[in-house]
Symmetry: C2
Subunit: 290 residues, 2 copies
């Protein structure tokens, strides 16, 4: 049994049966435990934590103990130190196979994962352009998060032309969060031996019929590697990830932002807001006070 | 300068300017040479050999010397010992990452490359199903080429249902020669962590607008790896390939067939025949007698 402090709003892992609480990633304190790895008082993060004040968790294999230190906000374990951070890290490094000088494009760049991918890419000397859905987000990407450039995809009636403007020599790595028309335009602009890390397709989740992709033949002609990624398969490497990311956080070399709303009742609006692009950074719902 | 003995009919490498000979893969004898690696009388195979009786070759980096032995037909160097053989070998092993027991699906299975992929897969203990475009080809796949099963895609109005019949537990490796609707149906039937080796998309080459693919989200949800392949990038490993394939040929463990037409004038019909699925095995045009 855990008490929920924070739940996060994300998409792929949301499971909701009618009359059951939605399940997602969260941070919680254990109030009782019959499992030897967890004891009363432990702080944990993980998935299968419900949108509720108290949760009964029967899948402890998806829970991680938090060795909390005062200089790291607990909420970071819903984001940069949790699932989104690991998705950005393993998706970018394992599937993207980046090297210095690579040209990297990140869609949905002002979301929790995109922000981190862009910064990881800059840390190793890539050229990084992100797209987002408002003028404000574009400014933030360029000024606060260190992207080399950014554009508002809603203002581009021709995504292919937009990508050619920012990547006249093409794209080496595309970190895909969007799907649909964006992927089609990207395929036209990938470089030979480019890599596409498929980590999300938010534009497709609510469609009855998925949008079609027309330019897949580029994968053949340009010898592109496209690969789907599920962070859950990397959880056994959590400590490796912490060793990489914690020093950067402590040295202030990674900028991280959250959009925290208070109270379980604000959850539905926060969830729906993701689809209209309301949030910048990780959307978090605070359920109880620590 | 080389005299052309055989030219092959294939698709991706055909280059034809009006009033210039079509260029493809061929086997030839050198009649004159200013390059120290090739001397008069040498037999060679390679690309950029024209559909013509005599050819001037200025790109010797794409020519391989043939150390001909009497028990191997020269024409094999247009197929199993040349580009199609290497495409099957490196596409299947490098991109497919096969292991014993994997379920392998090969489209265009009665073509030069598909026939070899199916046999390579059987050699390492995979379950292999191929599709082709006629009853006769399906019979050949099952009886002569050792496929576990085969079907005529033209008789299936629902490709998804057909694949579910042959792969009730899904597909681990898809060797893609076709594209379009077939790829869409395959995506629905891939297994978790499946691999798709894109080596050709013959259904798409003559379309003004490529067909669209609707089920790409499967790549994300099933963590599929899809990769385009170009054999030219493996030519530096030609001797490794010969070490693998020659013993199997000599021991009769690989069945190989060719469809050889006589005379340069038969070339156009042979080329067009590929698109209607006329040939079984490698389509070769014999231009001159050895």
């Amino acid at each position: 049994m855990v008490i929920i402090l924070l739940v996060t709003v994300n998409l792929l892992t949301l499971v909701g049966d009618i009359e059951q609480p939605i399940v997602g990633y969260g941070v919680a304190r254990v109030v009782d435990s019959r499992h030897s790895d967890f004891k009363k008082g432990d702080l944990v993060w993980g998935r299968t934590i419900g949108w509720e004040e108290y949760s009964l968790i029967t899948t402890p294999e998806y829970l991680f103990k938090i060795n909390h230190t005062d200089d790291i906000p607990l909420s970071y374990y819903t984001g940069i130190l949790g699932m989104p951070g690991m998705t950005a890290y393993f998706g970018f490094f394992d599937i993207g196979s980046p090297k210095e000088g690579d040209r990297v494009y990140v869609s949905s760049a002002s979301g929790a994962i995109g922000l981190l991918v862009g910064q990881f890419a800059k840390l190793i000397g890539c050229y990084v352009v992100g797209s987002a859905g408002s003028k404000e987000k574009v400014v933030l990407l360029k000024t606060k998060f260190g992207f080399d450039d950014a554009f508002n995809y809603k203002e581009e009636h021709d995504l292919d032309a937009a990508l050619k403007r920012y990547f006249p020599e093409g794209i080496d790595i595309y970190f895909e969060n969007v799907g649909g028309k964006m992927l089609d335009a990207v395929l036209l602009n990938m470089r030979h031996h480019g890599r596409i890390a498929l980590c999300g397709m938010i534009s497709q989740y609510n469609l009855e019929q998925p949008e079609s992709v027309h330019n897949l033949i580029a994968v053949l002609f340009k010898q592109i590697r496209m690969e789907g990624f599920a962070v859950a398969e990397c959880y056994d490497q959590y400590s490796k990830f912490l060793d990489f990311v914690l020093p950067y956080i402590k040295e202030g070399k990674i900028v991280y932002v959250e959009d925290i709303t208070e109270g379980l009742e604000s959850g539905p609006a926060a969830l729906i807001g993701l689809f209209s692009g309301r949030n910048v950074g990780k959307q978090v719902v605070k359920v109880a006070q620590e």
